[in-house]
């Protein structure tokens, strides 16, 4: 009887392992012990191989560093020497720990800074949602852009770049017209506690539509 229960338990565990394996096909995560780093995460998606390194004890603003393959991601403001040192330090350990075939010394790698944690980002997104006006018009309690822009029709976040994007309607999209809009909104959002370097803007001449008659919509 004991053997039977052992068999049942083994079967259940192997089932769990299989299910877990399927999940991990989308997002492979490997924890690696590295001095000075809390964890190393890796995922394998359409664009290529990605490595994220989370320093254990660093001061703001850099608390998350990521290495990206081409072709996406923004550059981390590190010198070539710093990048080389970082990479040469981490690479052998990663190879030893994971044996990932894509992690080769000749891999083209970018360094990306995601300054804020996902949890922090969600908190700011919630705050922006509560304090911003999402319709044309006025409400003195809510944040809205100055002219030539009239309202923020949406806000989004990117949990890989750890940025928040405001989607804004403006009648003039020239850089000189938009500069004061950016500065004004950044100041207002900073007052909410959202740091300026977490914010991105996307300007358009109208809100998204699904009406074919207004020139840009879909139906």
């Amino acid at each position: 009887m004991k053997a039977l229960w052992t068999l049942v338990l083994l079967l259940a565990l192997s089932g769990l392992a299989l299910a877990r394996g399927l999940d991990d096909a989308f997002l492979r995560i490997a924890k690696v012990d590295l001095p000075g780093f809390a964890a190393v995460y890796m995922d394998d998606d359409q664009q290529g191989f990605v490595v994220a390194v989370v320093p254990e004890k660093v001061k703001r603003p850099v608390n998350l560093i990521r290495f990206y393959n081409e072709p996406f991601g923004a550059e981390l403001p590190l010198s070539q020497e710093e990048k080389r040192t970082l990479w040469n330090t981490i690479l052998p350990r990663l190879q030893g720990a994971t044996g990932h075939p894509l992690l080769t010394p000749d891999a083209r790698v970018r360094f990306v800074v995601a300054r804020y944690s996902y949890k922090q980002l969600r908190e700011w997104v919630k705050r922006i949602g509560e304090h911003t006006l999402f319709m044309p018009g006025s409400d003195p309690r809510k944040i809205k852009p100055i002219a030539p822009c009239d309202f923020i029709y949406g806000y989004g976040y990117n949990d890989k770049h750890n940025t928040i994007t405001l989607y804004i309607r403006c009648s003039d999209l020239t850089p000189s017209a938009l500069r004061p809009v950016r500065e004004d909104l950044l100041a207002k959002l900073e007052w909410l506690g959202v740091p300026q370097d977490a914010i991105r803007f996307r300007f358009s001449t109208d809100i998204p539509a699904n009406n074919p008659d207004n020139g840009g919509g879909i139906r």
């Binding site: 358009s204 109208d206 539509a209 919509g217």
Partner: protein, 319 residues
């Protein structure tokens, strides 16, 4: 000894019959591909459908021209159409301007056409009927914003902008499978990419990953590629009747190559994510449908997970 012999005979009989029961029974194999002609309807997702604005109006001028995403199946056990198959497209394809917002958002029974080039009669080509719309909240209800102090308004709020239209009784997915247009073609012409391998998409994924490359196939702009740049908790959109509404939990897709990601008529189009080779599967996962776009060509999509939960449907694979 005799017992052992009988055991072995039984074992080999079972072993011989088991594979044939698994593979041959149940009608789960796809139908044999046949020659695709203009007249075969409905064809696979990514192609045009016309949705009537109202169940009692069927003139050509009162139809919303859209794209439909994929074949789906009703999983609502309390529904009269439980387990029946249909098509998925955007809910606003069935909007009309001359009725109240609530009537507009809840009406069902509208005909869905899929006609072919040169088909002037069109009424012969009703392929489905609108069966279920995604739930909505009118302004002021729960968390749907009310009027502001200048009278500007969000009229309603949705978690997903989609509808399920059940296939007409004389149509089955086997019929549809005969006209399976491969989802990976570079345009939307009526061709089979590979007749020997036409079960091209392998399923669905609740939502796209940040920064993942996706593509959509719509009746207006065909196949366009882009990158998922943001998850958007709230987005204000203008609908076909001029009303503003909020769609919760959407995704923004930035087009590649400076082209527009989508345009009028692409609503309801499937947004697909190509499975990476590491998954060991050659195929495509549905991650959502096209809902709206800006003039600059940024596309906004509702994720499949929201659509699935709001409509109580599941994807029907490949054929």
């Amino acid at each position: 000894m005799r017992r052992v012999a009988w055991f072995l005979v039984g074992f080999f009989v079972l072993a011989a019959t088991f594979p044939s029961q698994c593979n041959g029974g149940g009608g789960s194999n796809p139908p044999e591909p046949v020659e695709l002609t203009q007249e075969v309807r409905p064809v696979q997702g990514g192609t045009q459908v016309d949705v009537a604005y109202s169940a009692d109006i069927d003139t050509a001028r009162n139809r919303g021209r859209c794209t439909y995403a994929v074949f789906v199946r009703d999983t609502d056990v309390y529904s009269a159409t439980y387990d029946e198959s249909g098509i998925l497209t955007a809910g606003h394809c069935a909007l009309r301007g001359d009725s109240s917002v609530s009537q507009n958002l809840s009406s069902t029974g509208q005909d869905v056409w899929q006609s072919f080039e040169g088909d002037t009669a069109q009424t012969d080509r009703i392929v489905a009927r609108v069966t279920r719309r995604t739930p909505y909240e009118l302004w002021g209800e729960n968390e749907c914003p009310a009027f502001d102090d200048q009278g500007n308004s969000i009229e309603y709020c949705l978690r997903a902008d989609a509808l399920f239209a059940k296939l007409e009784p004389d149509l089955t997915l086997a019929d549809a499978g005969l006209a399976n247009v491969a989802l990976s073609v570079d345009d939307v012409e009526l061709t089979i990419e590979n007749p020997d391998d036409y079960d091209r998409y392998v399923g669905a994924q609740s939502a796209p990953f940040a920064n993942s490359r996706v593509y959509k196939i719509g009746r207006t702009t065909g196949k366009t590629r882009g990158v998922v740049v943001d998850r958007i908790p709230e987005l204000t959109i203008r609908d076909t009747t001029g009303n503003l509404y909020i769609d919760y939990d959407m995704y923004a897709v930035q087009p590649e190559d400076h082209i527009k990601m989508a345009a009028g008529g692409d609503s309801g189009a499937p947004v697909l994510y190509q499975n990476p080779e590491s998954m060991g599967q050659d195929g495509y996962a549905l991650v959502g449908i096209v809902v709206a776009a800006t003039r600059e060509g940024v596309m906004f999509m509702d994720p499949w997970g929201e659509i699935r939960d709001e409509l109580n449907i599941t994807i029907t694979n490949g054929y």
